[in-house]
Every structure is written in structure tokens, then in C-alpha cells.
Symmetry: C2
Subunit: 403 residues, 2 copies
């Protein structure tokens, strides 16, 4: 028998309780033993909950109960969650987390602590919600040298962009709709400014390349500046605008990671990922390209990933999962300014002026464009090269094209 | 140090040797120890091979060498491969296989033997080539009751269908091109008749639903009857024709599995899987739909999956991987005749006659159709219902539509 304590009875925490309950028989079968919910920590009262006998308000009850084997942390943030995670690991309990902020900011330290204590710290749910991605990356692709991990890592922004593309909504209208549907929070900045995707690409980069990458080292651009004009021009040449997180292995083992909108070709399977779905693609020197697709958020999908980790630990609580990466080192980070792209550019001016400034360009057209507006795709160049060529032009937007 | 012996130096076997060599340092790092290639078994001579010192012709050398921990079986078929796999497991060695025929026909027996001997029998490479799919299904989705697994499981047929759809080649032309490109064998029947996909859906069904499903229980239809006319009609209504393997959990724990071409909606991510790529989708009661995508065949992608299994075993050769299913039982198999679908039908006749025979239909059109030809989509019904309604018509083709 393995006893589980859930920290935080919000969307994900209550989902974990529900999945442990509704799939109890098959979880017992797969773990080879009973996996029982013993505690739920929350400051609030839930007198009508089916789990009402499990609630405690004091973390030390969980910390000091030697029968608790696995602590599920779904509190979020990096303050209380950090304290409780440290204390749970220090008390010799394995911890399973869905908390991308905590893993992205303190993952190295917590993995070290777990290793010292001979327990596991697993966080499949922190990236891609229910999509199996971290374990496949580290286990199934263990025979590969990975050169890149990239993906649509945030469901809220993908929903907004999909509604702009398919329904012709403006960014503000699509954001409002996402909020009305519960896909975006009242304060949507962590999603639309790209911070959520940034934390996830940090975790993917650490697992793929073996070294902690901190969010503050990752240039991050959201989707607030994307207009319907950009969506229309992209569509006219067979592209869709997607917010991507990318992490690339560079020469000398350096890592380049960033978050930004991209024009993604209709030939690329990432372009077909719509609504709140996420997808993570990886490139390995043996496997080539693989992609993992599914629901990147939501109560039960995220709980599915948490419970997968719990079952993995429950199979043998005495055998901690090896899941390590090295300390971060800013000297090993390379700016995305070193990368060359084709660029999509929208500007006020004439195509002739653009051609003489930028060189070979592919003109784009859309119906209803103001007479002064032009748009085009450039040849491949770095951000600095683009900026210098565009210096004399009135640029309305410039977006990377995924090669 | 973990010693590996490879059985069979064909495409996959030589790929495994190459991946173990080219990624040796990072494999050591991930396994926590050296993973060394000690033997390659092949009846042929390879005097110029970089691995020439590893070759042996007598399996008993491997069987009797206590230093060999992991045997990689890439022989194929279910005769010699079965004998050697049994003997390797009986000798206390873990076995990693890319051999879908052997797993689909003798998986239960071999997994039992592995469990008795306290070793592992792993076969990630047997389905989806390099795509991580079996381990994510059994580990990451362990908290889910799975209701369905389905996929594009054969790269050769997907290449042929893609070329018919995109280049307007006939089936015979596309097959010839696939053979010229090395994607199809001289005798292509295992691919184009659906037998390869059948073996793979048997393995997926066993892992997803916990019981061996034998290929002879799985109704299997290939793509040899698909014409350009069908491709055009499908395209006219936003569908692509794909060869799918499907396995569904039915009432009373019964399993329904079959292989057949389907019209797949452009909204379904499986429709965007082109060329030799494969994709496997699963539906769980917590996670919803997930999909795994990548190269389903080829030397290095398949070797990537094999080496992933080898690394997993090498981490701790004394801890066998739990990977079991129950014996097969034909009484638990339900025929796909119980399933209802919308159907695509092409026939000689008039739309009025079709309407009076079939009821509500959606007429389809294509340019260049003979005057006598009609095509339409039906409402949802079983195969038996469709057959009875179409009894008086001259049917040219009927294909399931994926709902």
C-alpha cells in the first residue's frame, strides 16, 4: 500500500483525487499495490467533498506521518510550494508536481535534494498537461543526442490564435472569449506575455540538454502584438501564426532558448495543432523528428500526468527515479540573436523601397489592406541583420518564420 | 558495464550497432554505466565492417556467455527469432526486440518466460519505429482507463496513399515509386494487405487492454482496392483516405480490433500524417486524446527505440521491467461488425436510387467521373445494415468514415 497526500485542492489537486478514485482498481493493478489517498492539504473548508475525511490544514501532519510515501504538490507558485516540497523531500517522501514555475526556478536544487534523500521528484504534468513528454524524452529517446525541442506549450494563447485564424476575431475579442470559456484567467498576462511557455521550455531544455536553464535567461515575447492583418498575410502564403518555445543545442554544448510567435508552414505538423491543444516536437540524431500531441491543460488531463508519476513511484518506492540535470550556468546560454530565419515583415511603404532595403523578398497580399501597407517574407538572416536593413522603414510587425 | 549482443545484422541490427557507437558517451551517461557491443550474430561475413571483431555465427556463444546482459533481436519472423528469444530469456538475459510478428504471435508466452526468469522483454521498436508509444501508453497513461488506441501504423501504405492524394498517382504507380525509393519491399503484400498494421494493432491492444490479441482474430483489409476516384471524392468533402489500425474496449471488457482504410476528417490530426510518418492516438478517461507522431520505420529511427529499451534495462539489470498482459481468449474478441460508422460509397447508378435504398445521403462530386458513377456519404450504420441497403446496387467501393 502506498499513501498519497495532495497539497492544494484546486483544479489539478481535485482532479488528482478524482482520478485516483475513479480509476482505483486499474491503478492498483498497474502499481501492483493499493494507492490510497490519505491527506489533502488546503486552508479552505470542503464539508461536502467526498474526500472530506482527508482534509488537513497543517502540513506538518503530512510531513511527520511516516505512512505518507508520495506528496502531490499542486499549489503552484514558488513560495509555499517550495517550502513544502523541500520539507517533504527532506522527510524522505517522493514528490510529484504539476508546478512549472517551481520546477523552472528551483528544479536543480529540488532534484539534488531528492537524490540525496533517495526519493523521486517527478513533474510530467508541468509541461504539456496530460501529454506524455518528459518521460519519453528522457527514457525512450535515451539513445539520441537531441539537437532541438520546440513546441506549442500554452493552450490559452493557442486558443486565441486559433480563434483569430478561424473566426476572424481580433486579439482582444479572442482573449475575451477565452476568458468567458475558462481557458484564460482574469489576469491573462502569464499566458499572453509568454511567461508560462517560457517556464515550460526551461524544463524541456534542462531535460534535453542536461543543465538548468532559468526563465530570466530566456528571451520571451508573447502574442499581444499579433493582429488580424498578420494572421491574414500568414494565411495567404500557407502559414499559421503560433507561439513557440524553442530550445536548441549549439556548438560547444551551449543552449539557445527563447519564446516567440512564428509563422509555421502548413507542411509542419505543429501548424495543425489547434484550440487548447499543445504539441511538443523533438529532433534526435537517430530518431529524426518526433511529436507528442494532446491536451496541455485542464483538470483531468493534468491529473492524468500526475497520477502516471504516482503509479511509477508506487511500483517500487525504494527505487528512486534517476532524473537529474546539472546546475545552470549563464555562460552556457547563447542568445537567439545568433539564429538566422526568414522573416515576415509588415510595414508602411512601397515594395520597391522594401526591395532596395532588404534585397530578395516575397511580396504578400491581403484584401482590405490600407494603400500604404506592404508585407513580405525575407531571405534568411539574423535579427540584427533584419533590424539594420529595416532601419529606414516604418515597420508595423516582424515575425520569425519556422524554417 | 552492460554487454549487448545483436541478433541479425540487417537494417535495424546494423542501425543499433551504429547508434550504440555514435552516441556511446551520452548512453554511458544516461545508463550510468558503459553499454558495450560484444557480439553480433549473423550467418553472413562482414570483413569490412567496423564491428568485424564482434561477429559470431553460433548463437550458443551468446547464450552461454554470462557477460551478455541484453540480447537485441532484429532477425524478424517467428521461427529462428522465437527459438533464440526463448533461449536468451531462459539463460537469464533480457531481450529487446523490434520484431512485431514475434511479439504479436508469441508475446504472451515470452513475457511470461521473462517474468519467470526475472529479466525484461521490451519491444518499443515493434510499433511506430522510433516513436515513443508503448512505454508512454503503459507508464505515463497508467492512471487512465483507455477506451481506444488507433493509428497510422504502416509507413509504406501511408506513403502510397500520400502520393495518390498529393501527386495523383495511381495505386500501382505509387507502389512502384515506393519500391524504387526503398520504402516498399519487392513483395509488398505484408504492407499493402494490412498484415504489418495488424500485428502492430495486436501489440497496442494487448498493452492497452491487458490481454493478448492474436492477428488471426483481427479482420484486416489493406489498401489495394483504393482508387484515385476514391481519393478525389474523399478530398472533395475534406477527408483523406488513411489505413488505420483500431482497437476499442467494448462492454464486458471485450476488445474489438481491426485494420481497414478510413476516410479521416481534415479536422482530425491523423489526417495530417503524411509520407512514411506514423502516428498513434489513444483515448483515456482522464487525459482525453493524445497522439504520438514520428518516423515509423527506417534504420536509425527503429534503432533509436531499441537503444532506448537497452538503456532502460542497463540502468539496473537486476530490476526487470513489469510489462505483462494476460493470455488471449477469443471469446473476449468482438467483431467490428458491431460498430456503426458513416460510410463513403461509390457505385454505378443514380442518386435517386441510392437515396431510396440508403436513406439520407450526402452526395459527392468529382471532375471527370463517368456519367453512371455516383458517390455519397451515408448516415451512421453497421456493416450489415449497409450491405443490406446496398444489396440491389452495383457498388464499386465502400469505406468507413472515422467519426
Amino acid at each position: 500500500m502506498v499513501n498519497v497526500a495532495i497539497l492544494g485542492f484546486g483544479t489539478v489537486g481535485s482532479g488528482v483525487a478524482d482520478v485516483l478514485t475513479m480509476n482505483r482498481d486499474l491503478i492498483r493493478q498497474r502499481a501492483g499495490k493499493e494507492v490510497a489517498l490519505k491527506y489533502i492539504l488546503d486552508v479552505r473548508e470542503f464539508p461536502d467533498s467526498p474526500y472530506k475525511d482527508c482534509f488537513v490544514k497543517d502540513f506538518s501532519v503530512i510531513e511527520n506521518d511516516p505512512e505518507v510515501d508520495v506528496v502531490v504538490e499542486t499549489i503552484g507558485g514558488a513560495t509555499v510550494a517550495l517550502d513544502f516540497t523541500r520539507r517533504a523531500l527532506a522527510a524522505g517522501k517522493s514528490v510529484v508536481s504539476s508546478n512549472k514555475e517551481l520546477v523552472a526556478t528551483h528544479g536543480y536544487e529540488l532534484l539534488q535534494l531528492a537524490a540525496e534523500k533517495g526519493v523521486s521528484y517527478l513533474f510530467e504534468a508541468s509541461v504539456g498537461g496530460g501529454i506524455p513528454v518528459l518521460r519519453p524524452l528522457t527514457n525512450c529517446l535515451a539513445g539520441n543526442e537531441l539537437s532541438e525541442v520546440r513546441g506549442i506549450l500554452n493552450g490559452t494563447t493557442n486558443y486565441i490564435l486559433t480563434r483569430m485564424i478561424r473566426a476572424g476575431l481580433s486579439f482582444d475579442q479572442a482573449l475575451k472569449e477565452a476568458q468567458d470559456n475558462g481557458y484564460a484567467e482574469r489576469d491573462p498576462s502569464a499566458d499572453i506575455e509568454g511567461h508560462d511557455a517560457c517556464r515550460k521550455i526551461c524544463i524541456l531544455a534542462a531535460l534535453a540538454f542536461g543543465r538548468h536553464v532559468y526563465p530570466q535567461w530566456v528571451p520571451t515575447q508573447g502574442i499581444t502584438a499579433i493582429t488580424l492583418a498578420d494572421v491574414d498575410y500568414a494565411n495567404s502564403c500557407g502559414y499559421k501564426i503560433k507561439l513557440l518555445g524553442r530550445a536548441l543545442k549549439m556548438d560547444d554544448d551551449k543552449v539557445c532558448a527563447y519564446v516567440a510567435p512564428h509563422l509555421v508552414s502548413g507542411e509542419n505538423p505543429l501548424s495543425g495543432v489547434e484550440d487548447v491543444f499543445n504539441a511538443i516536437a523533438a529532433t534526435g540524431n537517430a530518431v529524426g523528428d518526433v511529436m507528442f500531441y494532446g491536451r496541455g491543460a485542464g483538470k483531468l488531463p493534468t491529473a492524468s500526468a500526475v497520477v502516471g508519476d504516482v503509479v511509477d513511484i508506487a511500483k517500487d518506492v525504494t527505487a528512486p527515479k534517476r532524473n537529474q540535470w546539472a546546475a545552470g550556468d549563464e555562460a552556457m546560454i547563447q542568445s537567439p540573436d545568433c539564429l538566422s530565419f526568414r522573416w515576415y515583415v509588415r510595414a508602411n511603404g512601397t515594395m520597391d523601397a522594401a526591395r532596395s532595403a532588404v534585397g530578395d523578398i516575397t511580396p504578400l497580399a491581403r484584401s482590405g489592406a490600407p494603400a500604404s501597407e506592404i508585407a513580405f517574407l525575407t531571405e534568411s538572416m539574423t535579427q540584427a541583420q533584419l533590424n539594420s536593413k529595416l532601419a529606414g522603414m516604418e515597420v508595423l510587425s516582424s515575425i520569425r518564420v519556422l524554417g
